[in-house]
Assembly symmetry: C2
Homo-oligomer: 240 residues x 2
């Protein structure tokens, strides 16, 4: 059974303000929760339906409550909840330090689906992720959902993007619509791929810190590609 206080707390975690105040966030769905339970993230509480009683890793969780699917519907953000919902502690932030690795740097990505998809991409390509401070919040439930568990694999930092880029010696490749072909660019062993805002692209100040303007050649009539899609295609060019 869910208490009124539990329902109230979980519902309030839908807002960024409350998530920040309480340093907690919500994770839903089988795939995400399976990755959560394999990670070092601290689970505060798991609510599960009978179907998931024997889920791997669930026995290591101290605070857990079996609920009915209709009970879970009261706290779930999904239209058709799968039967698993976890409250998780936000990990303590570490300072951002450049390493000799590949990076994706996001300038003002606002769509949570895009951020989640890019986290999954960064995880696939083994890249680190750096977000400007005005990117959508990492613990937005739609970000978590779209990352498909990758949020528990890779570190995502938020920082002043202009300052950070200025302090790195890695080559910086800005994704733009009228740059050099990504197919003909010679990429170094490690580099930073910069992706801009969905509507406005990369800001002027960030662009000034880039070394290369890179473009996916357009062979048809589509005017653009979605930001996450462009990120995936360019990541595959740069980080291969």
């Amino acid at each position: 059974m869910l208490s009124k206080a539990q329902i109230k707390h979980i519902s309030a975690l839908r807002t960024k303000k409350y998530r920040t105040e309480h340093a907690q966030f919500i994770v839903e769905g089988k795939k995400s929760i399976a990755e959560l339970l394999k990670s070092k993230f601290e689970v505060v509480h798991i609510y599960y339906t009978q179907e998931y009683k024997t889920l791997e890793g669930l026995n290591t969780v101290t605070n857990k409550t079996e609920v009915s699917l209709s009970g879970l519907s009261k706290i779930s953000l999904q239209k058709n909840p799968e039967g698993l919902l976890a409250i998780v502690n936000t990990p303590v932030k570490t300072n951002f330090v450049w390493q000799e690795k590949n990076y994706i740097a996001l300038d003002s990505i606002r769509d949570p689906g895009n951020l989640g998809t890019i986290i999954r991409l960064a995880d696939w390509f083994g890249a680190n992720l750096l977000c400007s401070k005005d990117c959508v919040e990492l613990y937005n439930p739609k970000v978590i959902q779209a990352s498909m568990g990758s949020i528990f694999h890779i570190q995502v930092h938020y920082a002043d993007l202009i300052e950070s880029l200025a302090s790195s010696k890695l080559p910086k490749y800005a994704a733009v619509l009228n740059g050099a072909s990504a197919y003909e660019t010679e990429f170094k062993k490690h580099g930073i791929l910069i992706i801009g805002n969905e509507a406005n692209g990369i800001s002027k100040e960030v662009l000034e810190n880039a070394n290369h303007m890179t473009t996916i050649p357009n062979k048809g009539q589509a005017e653009s590609l979605n930001a996450a899609m462009a990120c995936g295609i360019l990541a595959s060019c740069l980080f291969r």
Copy 2:
């Protein structure tokens, strides 16, 4: 003003059955409607708010009705309608014939967002699109929305995928998780990229018609990429 009959007709067009019976579909949003008005598709009726009175191409449309935003909300599928909705005639189907071009072939893609995104990709890369008969319907409003107007640029055919593939001499590259690296594959001038179902991948029978098994090398911990994302990355490898 919208009549009750109009509201009823447009609402009914949300269902596949009614769309098929009436050979009409709905288009919403500024970008999609702008591309529609530049295309050869037949507009049955446009509903627009005052804001779009002077939209380019609108003067060439015979049947149009200015409505209030609250009027438009009654017929729109969007949470926040932009102020433009068109009823369009489904074009007459043409028979599918292979050409000396690049193709994306979809085996049982079920998610309308994925199909729309792949239409936009095919348009970007100048590829033709062939769908198995059990792919999601082309005129699903979410397909239209995700294609961002590209549905008015490229032809999309539905056909028996196994038969069609068997009849083509173009090299066929199947997107799989354990094939040869797409980065090390030598691609011919033209070819067919085969993308499988979101949950189950490419069916056995379709796979048997492929010449090459191709994979985006995984350098991290993510188990998979979304079907449309994999399609975009592989299309950029094959069709460059």
